[in-house]
């Protein structure tokens, strides 16, 4: 998806670091500064919608919408991506005033906002458009039988790699994790200054995507407020111990992603691959590269079992309507337009670097355009080959996604420093997420 994707508990570099600093004061000021929410009532008069998003192409989209619907005014406010945005939303929504009508919310956050009751049920507005989306997308925006956001994109995890580095050591692009592990050994032993990749215990979103791709389903809504929570499955243990072994052997380096130091390692070719997502060329690697560094390529994620391929996502965005909105029908229409209108899809695909979820996306020019950071590689076409596999995934998000991210981060930090084993770390995550779910009145099966 985008900028925000998994950008929780981290930032991109100096500029975003400073941006985050600004957000500190901003959050405090939030309750005080209430923006005019809602606007005019539906009818013949003009409608004003307020919109919070961190999409870089948002102003252009607002303009295009106003052009198509002259009686609607879109008041756009740029928000910092990821966690800072959710903090801002949370404060404004819980305060009861001051939130915008339409908010950019990623799939993994929808259940939390929905369970708090501050975003509105969009089922009646969005349902008729759902035929234009794969079923999987519908599941991503559905929580307890209702649709809470208009879906925009899909963010499959991808393996980004440096062909020059791999070729130099005659390493083929790994298609299985077993190949990946032996490649990691070969590379680091041949050149100790290089690592196959990094492992970032600070990034809950990325680690969750890895677990998902290994076949783990940590959350399962069993109805009637009962959940199955499972962080200690064989699949989860396999994934984390795999990384643990590579870290222990020194073939994979522990790093804090989206920091200046890490960006420098990306730019200098210290890492031969990046276990990222479709948006990584634009938002994760690209920002650190100079033109001469545009040597990266994208590949499908290595598999645990080649005969039973699995795909996962890291990110994925939707637009939701808040309970403070005075005109939810108009807001829902705008939110839906953002994910279905051809102009909008084109804009997401080119300016935003997104892979849109709408089936119409394949008919846009953006679908076939080459990615400059990847030396013109047509990443979207590559992605389209794995979408069918992704759509088979039964992975679900829960109202404790943020909490689970935080716990994964804390426990994996202890695991990579050798304080506890990876199995212990997962067991600790399990215990604390179960406790939090129970504390909030859910039953845990």
């Amino acid at each position: 998806m985008t900028n925000g994707s998994g950008f929780r508990h981290r930032a991109i570099g100096r500029r975003q670091f400073l941006g985050g600093v600004g957000a500190l004061g901003l959050t405090a000021a939030l309750a005080a500064c209430s923006s005019p929410a809602g606007g005019a009532k539906a009818g013949d008069g003009p409608v004003t919608l307020t919109w919070w998003s961190w999409l870089s192409n948002a102003p252009a989209l607002a303009k295009a919408y106003e052009k198509q619907y002259p009686n609607v005014k879109i008041q756009f406010t740029q928000v910092p991506g990821g966690t800072p945005a959710y903090t801002k939303y949370g404060a404004a929504l819980r305060a009861g005033s001051g939130a915008a009508d339409v908010l950019q919310i990623e799939y993994q956050e929808l259940p939390q906002f929905a369970s708090e009751g501050h975003i509105v049920d969009m089922t009646s507005y969005v349902k008729k458009y759902m035929a234009g989306f794969p079923d999987f997308t519908k599941r991503m925006v559905t929580y307890q039988g209702k649709i809470w956001g208009a879906p925009i994109d899909l963010d499959p995890m991808m393996l980004l790699y440096r062909p020059d580095t791999l070729q130099k050591h005659s390493i083929p692009v790994p298609t299985t994790w077993t190949d990946f592990a032996s490649a990691a050994k070969t590379l680091h032993e041949a050149d100790p200054s290089k690592y196959m990749t990094f492992f970032a215990p600070n990034n809950g979103g990325r680690m969750m995507g890895m677990l998902w791709q290994g076949g783990a389903t940590p959350f399962e809504d069993q109805g009637n407020g009962t959940w199955k929570i499972d962080f200690t499955s064989t699949a989860a243990k396999q994934v984390m111990n795999f990384w643990g072994d590579l870290i222990k052997a020194g073939y994979v380096k522990v790093d804090t992603d989206f920091t200046p130091a890490w960006g420098n390692s990306i730019a200098n070719g210290v890492y031969a691959t990046d276990v990222g997502a479709i948006w990584s060329p634009t938002y994760e690697i690209g920002p650190y590269l100079k033109k001469a560094g545009y040597k990266w390529k994208a590949a499908v994620m290595p598999q645990w079992d080649a005969s039973n391929p699995l795909q996962s996502m890291w990110g994925g965005l939707s637009f939701a309507v808040t309970d403070q909105c005075k005109n939810p029908a108009a807001a829902a229409q705008f939110a839906t337009w953002l994910g279905t209108n051809k102009t909008a899809l084109e804009s997401h695909g080119t300016a935003g670097g997104l892979y849109c979820a709408s089936k119409d996306f394949a008919n846009t020019a953006a679908f076939t355009s080459g990615m400059p950071v990847l030396g013109g590689q047509k990443e979207n076409q590559l992605v389209s080959t794995i979408i069918p596999t992704l759509e088979k995934s039964m992975f679900q998000w829960s109202p404790w996604t943020q909490y689970a991210y935080g716990q994964l981060q804390a426990q994996m930090q202890d695991a990579v420093t050798g304080k506890i084993t990876y199995n212990q770390a997962l067991a600790n995550v399990q215990a604390s997420v179960v406790q939090t779910a129970k504390q909030q009145g859910y039953k845990v099966a």
Partner: protein, 314 residues
């Protein structure tokens, strides 16, 4: 008599109103919140449930452990540094005392947020050339201070850098209030500068040292800005300090009730620590003062410098 008796109330009214509006009311409100739980989307009274959860919450106790470790490192270094600087500047050995006083105080004038960003960059190997120079000493590997588990030290360094100058200023001003005759008397008795500092000045500074120590401990318990900002550069857990944990519970996980509970427990712990610290460290001086008063009553009244220096209430 009527208007006269009202006057004092009118005068304290602004304070009382603000105190009630911005201290008492939020406090009561937070306490009420802490007794509720959000069960399946509904606020419900849950009694002390949240407190029971907190008592068994390892993340919370871990965060308290972090700030205790931090308090020890930070308080000791900042206090010692501030004291040494103040004693040096107060001695007759240093020239340009006013200049050094100003420059040593300057870090305190840098807002904490800016200081953290600045130090954050200094800790990053890409942005601090000195760390690159150090690489050969580290077996050719990059020195990345932010990578290891020494976060407590990194944060203590930032806070000490800022606080030492402030403490120095407090000590120095306390020193200037000491009567010069006492120094002369000490020198006539054969004290050199070092002995004067250790035997005369430091004991006289004791109330101020105690005051700054309590400030340090309370500040440490409330540590928030530094870890909050550094998490953009290093892996700082969401429950690194109690305040950060409460913040994340409230705004990241959406659990306001539990955040209120954690805040209450933290306030309580801070209070207890401060009171205990106060009594443990001031026991001796209270005894001395008592003895002094007794001896003064016994003999003829004589002005004692130590007593006149002690700020009231400490």
């Amino acid at each position: 008599m009527g208007p006269r008796s009202k006057a004092p109330y009118l005068m304290v009214a602004p304070f009382v109103l603000l105190f009630v509006a911005f201290f008492v009311y939020p406090l009561v409100n937070a306490f009420v919140l802490s007794l509720q739980g959000r069960l399946a989307g509904q606020d419900q009274f849950v009694g002390l449930n949240n407190y029971v959860t907190a008592l068994g919450d390892q993340a919370f106790w871990g965060s308290l452990g972090t700030v205790f470790a931090f308090a020890i490192v930070q308080a000791v270094t900042a206090l010692l540094l501030g004291l040494v600087m103040a004693l040096l500047l107060d001695s007759s050995l240093v020239r340009g005392s006013a200049f050094f006083r100003l420059t040593n105080f300057m870090p305190f004038a840098v807002p904490g947020v800016i200081a953290t960003i600045m130090w954050g960059f200094l800790y990053s190997p890409q942005l601090n050339p000195l760390l690159q120079v150090l690489a050969p000493l580290n077996g050719g590997k990059q020195v990345n201070l932010l990578a290891g588990g020494n976060l407590v030290l990194l944060i203590a360094n930032i806070v000490t850098w800022s606080a030492a100058g402030y403490f120095m200023t407090l000590y120095f001003s306390a020193l200037t209030a000491l009567p010069r005759e006492m120094y002369e008397a000490a020198k006539l008795d054969g004290c050199n500068e070092f002995q004067l500092a250790i035997r005369v000045k430091v004991p006289a500074l004791r109330p101020m040292i105690l005051f700054t120590a309590i400030l340090s401990v309370i500040g440490a318990m409330q540590l928030f800005n530094e870890p909050f900002l550094l998490h953009n550069l290093a892996n700082v857990s969401a429950s690194y300090t109690p305040n950060l944990y409460a913040y994340n519970q409230a705004f990241t996980y959406g659990n306001l009730n539990y955040a209120a509970t954690l805040s209450f427990i933290l306030a309580l712990v801070t209070l207890v620590v401060s009171v205990v610290f106060f009594f443990v460290t001031s026991g001796e001086s209270r005894r001395e003062r008592r003895e002094l008063r007794a001896s003064r009553r016994a003999s003829r009244p004589a002005p004692t410098p130590a007593a006149s220096v002690a700020p009231r209430g400490v």
